[in-house]
């Protein structure tokens, strides 16, 4: 029983991490007043570029007779996926911030585009590779669970806390850093002002456009890394058609569940991660597996309803979300 709980916990952390990354990216984006519904698209873009980056690096090294370095390959995946996410977010930012297009529709378009981008290049590279794309053992090893000296060997706790792949720790550090950023730093305070009331921030001398662009683009990059987690860890370095499907939207849901707080995001990601894999660990007789799949979505709906019932001024979506700002609007 206890071991089931332990393995459920571990599996939940592993399944929750891409959601956490996607959600962190979206929190950063929404704090600037941009509601980017393109998380799914950006995750797809990150998923394929991360995988492709590692794959081509390995092919290149092997073609020149060397043997690929796993850590370097992982870094390449990280950078490629981040850049792909920023590319998607940059298109979104240009359209909504500079050209003032509707945020909802632009985000959805980004999802369509990004999904097409991921699947298209996934298949295209697969075709060229003669069937499917998969990374080599060196890269795979770089994304397997870490063995941290001493800490990993602590009984029970070591396994529960110190034996994950490096992206898990990356996500946690990112969440902590973002919490500090929003609450303690000057730039974070300014960013919150931009998201809450751009006209105020503008009058206070904050460069709205720059803040929005940077937050949205970096947020997109983080979403891209979340997508890379899906292709490198979840599917173990093999491109699976539609591998991100639904996770981007779950990340958007998670933002609401976490009430726009990166710290709470970690907890909620664990819960969501747990719900997505629960069917493999908890078997309630008579309850078919597919019904478990509904749980994260049902939970999100419940949270949506509950948060809307008790209107809170502070734990709510930044007020200007969804509305574009034009200084000379009259």
């Amino acid at each position: 029983m206890l071991s089931t709980l332990n393995s459920l916990f571990i599996a939940a952390v592993l399944a929750g991490t891409p959601l956490l990354l996607g959600a962190l990216g979206e929190i950063l984006t929404e704090k600037s007043g941009n509601l980017n519904l393109g998380v799914e698209g950006m995750m797809f873009m990150g998923a394929i570029t991360g995988l492709a980056g590692s794959y081509y690096y390995e092919q290149g090294v092997m073609a020149s007779g060397g043997s690929p370095n796993g850590v370097l390959s992982a870094m390449i995946a990280l950078i490629c996926s981040f850049l792909a996410g920023t590319l998607g977010a940059l298109i979104y930012s240009f359209l909504t911030i500079t050209l003032r297009a509707n945020q909802n529709v632009t985000g959805l378009t980004l999802t369509i585009f990004g999904t097409g981008f991921g699947n298209f290049f996934g298949e295209y590279i697969g075709q060229k590779a003669g069937g499917y794309v998969a990374v080599g053992d060196a890269t795979k090893a770089a994304f397997t669970n870490l063995k941290i000296p001493v800490l990993s060997e602590i009984p029970v706790l070591g396994k529960l806390l110190f034996q994950y792949n490096w992206l898990v720790y990356f996500a946690i550090i990112l969440a902590v850093a973002m919490t500090w950023f929003f609450n303690k730093s000057r730039v974070g305070l300014n960013l919150r002002a931009v998201g809450e009331s751009p006209a105020t921030a503008d009058a206070a001398g904050i460069d709205i456009t720059r803040y929005k662009y940077i937050a949205t683009v970096i947020g997109g990059g983080i979403c891209g890394i979340g997508g890379m987690y899906m292709s490198m860890v979840t599917t173990k370095g093999v491109w699976v058609h539609g591998c991100v499907s639904g996770y981007g939207w779950l990340a958007v849901a998670l933002v609401i569940f976490a009430t726009w707080s990166p710290a709470r995001g970690m907890l909620v990601a664990l819960v969501f991660g747990g719900l997505t894999i629960m069917r493999m660990y908890v078997n309630i007789p008579g309850l078919p597996a597919q019904i478990y799949d509904m749980l994260p979505y049902v939970a999100t709906i419940l949270v949506l309803i509950i948060t809307s019932m008790r209107e809170s001024k502070e734990h709510a979506q930044p007020k200007s979300c969804g509305i574009n700002y034009f200084r000379e609007e009259r």
Binding site: S185, R186, L189, A199, A201, A203, A204, G205, E311, E328
Partner: protein, 530 residues
């Protein structure tokens, strides 16, 4: 009239000089070749009607807008103000009419917003500095209080401190007294005088002549986006200023025609409503409105005016009390209870109650729709069948355009594109067209120029003469005291008194706006207890 640069000795320097400034928005010319000079250490009043381009001009100093033409000099140096940040660095700070504050942040956080400094914010230190600054100028402020918990005057304090904290020596205040009681206004003026003593140069935007006379050293006047001139305050009077502002001598007297027969139309008894936080927005409000009179309603912003109008109109929930509406029924009047009914339920009872809400384009009208579609807003259900009938509303629109002299390219133009005065004429025209017996108007002249305002006063007086009970919610005490037959004062959701404006002073009303004498309040409710 004073001439430019008259008697400007070597010692007297200019804080700001604006030369031939022009700014257009689409086809609208907001400022045309405007000149303006602010001397160091003076208080300059910038006077002009609504829509005369005062705020636009000042927004170009604070970096919000960018001029199409012209030059700006600050302390003698030509500058290009591209952003609010740059304006701050020049020592220019503007206190906007619509406060620019972030609700979920504290006062101190709002004050340091956008400032350069260390990577992390030391909140303790900032709070201390803000408190000290507040004390220096005689403000009372808790730096850790969140904006959404603040009253209007507190928010204004934060705005002013925000500018002072940045070390501004040129302050621009846009209609700062619009939201204040007479007493709060006096307090603000004292602070402004302190600042002037401190060497600050101040521009105060206003359209209230008595305030101009009270606070300013000189007055610059704008009319329809153009610069008219500047005068020394001690050498002028209200009549001259009015003439410069409007372009012709006019009497600022508002008519108050006497109507003999006064029928009881609307009786409100003990009306009580809660706001979003569960606090009483209206507390045991009782009054009676009579046909053939204008009942003015005064109070500082947010004293329950909106809730009062909306509760009567069926748009705001109440937790207690009663609203009785006298309906003529075969020659006799019967009283209908209307509290708690929805607007369509009220009209189905055969009650013609008109309501001109404060938010014209956000509640009274649909900005994106044309005049026909707006005119049928309250009556589209009347014809039978599933289709809408646009013929009659179109004819009515055309009639309104002619009768009220509404300036519009045509009935097909979205009303959001019309000017403020014309928008109000469309709204008021539609409401009057249903021949109401009670007409509630909330801030009907806000943002309108003087001509449009007087047209609105005339329309209201016409309705009064027809025997309509007019309830006028206003913010300008001078106007309220001139036009109303009786004046009800609200304070914190309670009625602090219903008075005859001919028999009280403005100061007395100001006191009632901030203080409820419980005895008086009881008397009021006793008076209408039938």
């Amino acid at each position: 009239m004073a001439k430019e640069g008259e008697d400007l000795g070597e010692t007297e320097k200019l804080a700001i000089k604006m030369n031939k400034i022009t700014k257009t928005f689409g086809k609208v010319v907001a400022n045309k070749d405007v000149n303006l000079e602010l001397r160091e250490g003076e208080i300059l009043a910038l006077l002009g009607e609504n829509g005369s381009g005062k705020t636009t001009l000042m927004n170009m100093l604070s970096g919000i807008y960018f001029p199409d033409h012209g030059e700006i000099y600050v302390h003698g140096k030509e500058v290009t103000i591209r952003s609010p940040k740059y304006a701050f660095s020049l020592g220019i700070g503007m206190i906007h009419q619509h406060f620019k504050l972030v609700d979920v942040l504290t006062a101190a956080e709002n004050i340091i917003l956008g400032l350069d400094g260390k990577v992390t914010v030391n909140r303790k230190e900032v709070n201390k500095k803000v408190s000290e600054l507040a004390q220096k100028y005689g403000f009372d402020l808790d730096p850790t209080k969140k904006i959404y918990n603040m009253a209007v005057s507190e928010k204004q304090t934060v705005e002013i401190l925000k500018v002072l904290y940045r070390g501004a020596d040129i302050l621009i205040l846009d209609e700062p007294t619009a939201v204040l009681t007479p007493q709060e206004t006096d307090k603000l003026f004292n602070v402004l005088r302190n600042m002037k003593e401190d060497g600050k140069s101040i521009i105060i935007i206003t359209h209230k002549l008595n305030e101009v006379m009270a606070i300013s050293d000189r007055v610059a006047i704008l009319r329809k986006g153009e610069y008219i001139g500047v005068v020394n305050t001690p050498e002028t009077d209200q009549a001259q200023l009015t003439e410069m502002m409007v372009g012709r001598p006019i009497s600022l007297k508002i008519d108050r025609p006497e109507v003999e027969e006064k029928e009881e139309r609307l009786q409100v008894i003990g009306l009580t409503c809660l706001n979003g936080e569960g606090v009483k927005a209206l507390d045991n409000v009782s009054f009676t409105a009579y046909g053939g009179e204008i009942l003015g309603v005064a109070g500082i912003a947010g004293s329950g005016q909106k809730e009062l109008c909306e509760a009567i109109a069926g748009l705001y929930p109440s937790i207690g009390g009663s609203v009785l509406y006298s309906v003529e029924h075969e020659g006799t009047y019967i009283k209908e209870r209307i509290l708690g009914l929805k607007p369509d339920e009220i009209s189905r009872k055969g009650i013609a109650m008109a309501y001109v809400p404060e938010d014209r384009l956000g509640m009274g009208l649909v900005a994106g729709m044309d005049m026909t579609d707006n005119v049928m807003l309250r009556s589209y259900k009347e014809n039978k069948g599933i289709f809408v009938d646009r013929k009659a509303p179109k004819a009515l629109s055309e009639k309104l355009i002619e009768e009220l002299e509404i300036v519009t390219p045509g009935v097909g133009t979205p009303v959001g594109r019309l000017s403020g005065g014309n928008v109000q004429k469309v709204l008021l025209g539609r409401e009057i067209a249903c021949s109401p017996s009670v007409l509630i108007v909330a801030y009907p002249v806000r943002g309108l120029d003087i001509n449009s305002s007087y047209r609105i006063y005339d329309l209201l007086n016409e309705q009064k003469k027809k025997g309509v009970a007019v309830i006028f919610i206003g913010e300008d005490l001078d106007v309220l005291m001139e036009i109303s037959d009786r004046l009800m004062v609200l304070c914190g959701g309670k009625v602090s008194g219903i008075v005859d404006p001919k028999e009280v002073t403005k100061e007395e009303i100001g006191l009632m706006m901030i203080h409820v004498d419980n005895q008086a309040a009881d008397d009021v409710s006793g008076e209408v207890d039938v």
